[in-house]
Subunit: 422 residues, 2 copies
Amino acid sequence: MARIVMKFGGTSVANVDKIRQAALHIRREIDAGNQVSVVVSAMAGKTNELVAWVNEASKFHDAREYDAVVASGEQVTAGLMAIVLSEMGVPARSFQGWQIPIETDDAHGAARIENIDPSMLIDRMDKGMVCVITGFQGIYPPTGRITTLGRGGSDTSAVAVAAAVKADRCDIYTDVDGVYTTDPRIAPKARRMARISFEEMLEMASAGAKVLMIRSVEMAMAHSVRLCVRSTFDDPNAPQVTPDGVPGVPGTLVCDEEEIMEKQIVSGITLARAEAKITLRGVKDKPGVAAAVFGALADANIVVDMIVQNVSDDGARTDITFTVPDSDYDKAMRALETTGSAIERESISGSKGGAKISVIGVGMRSHAGVAASMFRALAEKGINIQLITTSEIKTSVLIDEEYAELAVRVLHTYYGLDKQDV
Amino acid sequence: MARIVMKFGGTSVANVDKIRQAALHIRREIDAGNQVSVVVSAMAGKTNELVAWVNEASKFHDAREYDAVVASGEQVTAGLMAIVLSEMGVPARSFQGWQIPIETDDAHGAARIENIDPSMLIDRMDKGMVCVITGFQGIYPPTGRITTLGRGGSDTSAVAVAAAVKADRCDIYTDVDGVYTTDPRIAPKARRMARISFEEMLEMASAGAKVLMIRSVEMAMAHSVRLCVRSTFDDPNAPQVTPDGVPGVPGTLVCDEEEIMEKQIVSGITLARAEAKITLRGVKDKPGVAAAVFGALADANIVVDMIVQNVSDDGARTDITFTVPDSDYDKAMRALETTGSAIERESISGSKGGAKISVIGVGMRSHAGVAASMFRALAEKGINIQLITTSEIKTSVLIDEEYAELAVRVLHTYYGLDKQDV
């Protein structure tokens, strides 16, 4: 017997037929003797509709009213799911955030979960009932008003519920069947992973893989909640087999490193396109310069990705290079030009159309030379590296976007990630 | 300064533009120095959409889940209305049923309001804030689950809130501008009434006028809540003038009889079409026969309208005639035939296509001969009366549907209800 939290996103509950399909997965887990709580998103498109009405009502709306309106979408799905389950003979009831309660702070529209009382949920699960919980929402107890967690917050809700009820697993049902070594549309030999560590998943998500919200992975790591990414559209009654072909949970398990027996040096390769690079040359090498540069960009609401600063030759002047999304390139250049007097520098230059390729793997910690072999593999194909940044378990390079797909495929093969049966 | 509850139905809040139009009425009342709470329905069509999903999910759904789903519609409107009001500079916040709380019994889907704590609402209104309240819904405190009051329940919510906060008036904003002496589509000379008593309004509603839900009028009468029926689509900034042309509240005020100075003998005339009549002849005149007949119909879920039983000539046998909707005629005949042995009678006959015309007025209590004059007026036009029933302030006749419009116009003129300026 296991205790499982199952989360279904908007495309998995887009209409009553799809809700019924999702319910078959729930019934399978109940039939297997497991205890189940379910977290649901709004039906696909509904949250956008509600947000559009709020914006039509006023561009400068009270975030508390925004939350009251947009939280209604999950309420509909939760009730419908409970009805569908009951009709299948699975005892179920819906819970809204305030009914549990899921307590948050008062940052309406982007609230953080502070506490979940698990007693009611555990009591129902002990009795064989499925608790269907509205994702994305909670309550701020001092005012008794509904809060929402921000877009994609249902993943976070599911992980928080799983932590609160001490679930053995939190299954994230989505429209893909797991986490791949790289994007299969780019590298047809991409392999679905059976397991990946929290740290690697975080780096994958930050580096461009869009399977899970970063926040939910962080929370899962902090509370040691084992996450499983799997597909709603798999046959609910098919034998449950892992990507490695053994009986177990289909999909990719995101878990502690200790649970992964055979660690890959490189687990995955990600690609982020449309990165523009900007270089400030001959910047005075003194305290506060970097703060002035990136402060100006932050004030203009520009998110900076890679940052590289070399040591200066003579200790007097240095070069700083960083990347921003192509769409923010012009705005970033303007922001830096208008702060010209504050930031002494010899020149600014830059270009759009870069691609960031990252190789990720916890094995890098103990294996020297991963970065070097990556550069060599790219050099053999004549791909020029414009920028390099590294973290403990990731090496990223910026290259010309033209070579992006080629680079991904070359590295995928180079690190032995290709499917064996292809 | 007055304290007013303003209720807006589905067509009055069908989209954000209409919500804005409704909000102008609210701002007018605030600008006039009044205290205001607002009760809103779901946007037109939304409740039907939600109900359809529930029925698609399961025909035999848990009423508690039905309530959780369908209550979400009002939540959206309340939030949007609060946002629109705030943007107009009118301080406002939304309240859901459970946040006030509006306490009901546990008859999910058709709950009755048992208690409303007015303290939070009065506190906010004292501070000049508009409380925007979700109609139609409440909470059953022992389980903490959301309840709904059944279709049209927002009128009832508004009256209950008005009673709880001791409002001076409960304004029901709708797509008609008041209560008319009869249907203006049938009698172009129909006049909009400035005032009508609760009792007359109840008889009008039961007899076919569809302006207000009967339950909300009953509750208003019980708690002496003055109701005003008025149009959302009137110019919010036009001078406020009663149907009598004097400064005051536009629309029709439904109030205690004592507030109506000049009582009409007949206040209004209503028409209900498609009434079928069924006659049981030669029924044994003994206790329990009527119970057997109407018990059989109730078991078949058939609502009976008029019932007439004559005294028998010889004390042995009698005739019973009653009406049912045309659509239930065949079902009613079958129900009576299958209970043939229980109800001894000589014959059953009946026909569809009747129309019930009712004349209504509290003045009938003190004026003899209203019924007689009604029969005379119809006889003068050669209209045959098939059935007659009376209550204290209403006389109803069943006639052939062909003559329905003619009868309404004749009686409208006969009782002096025609507009003077036409």
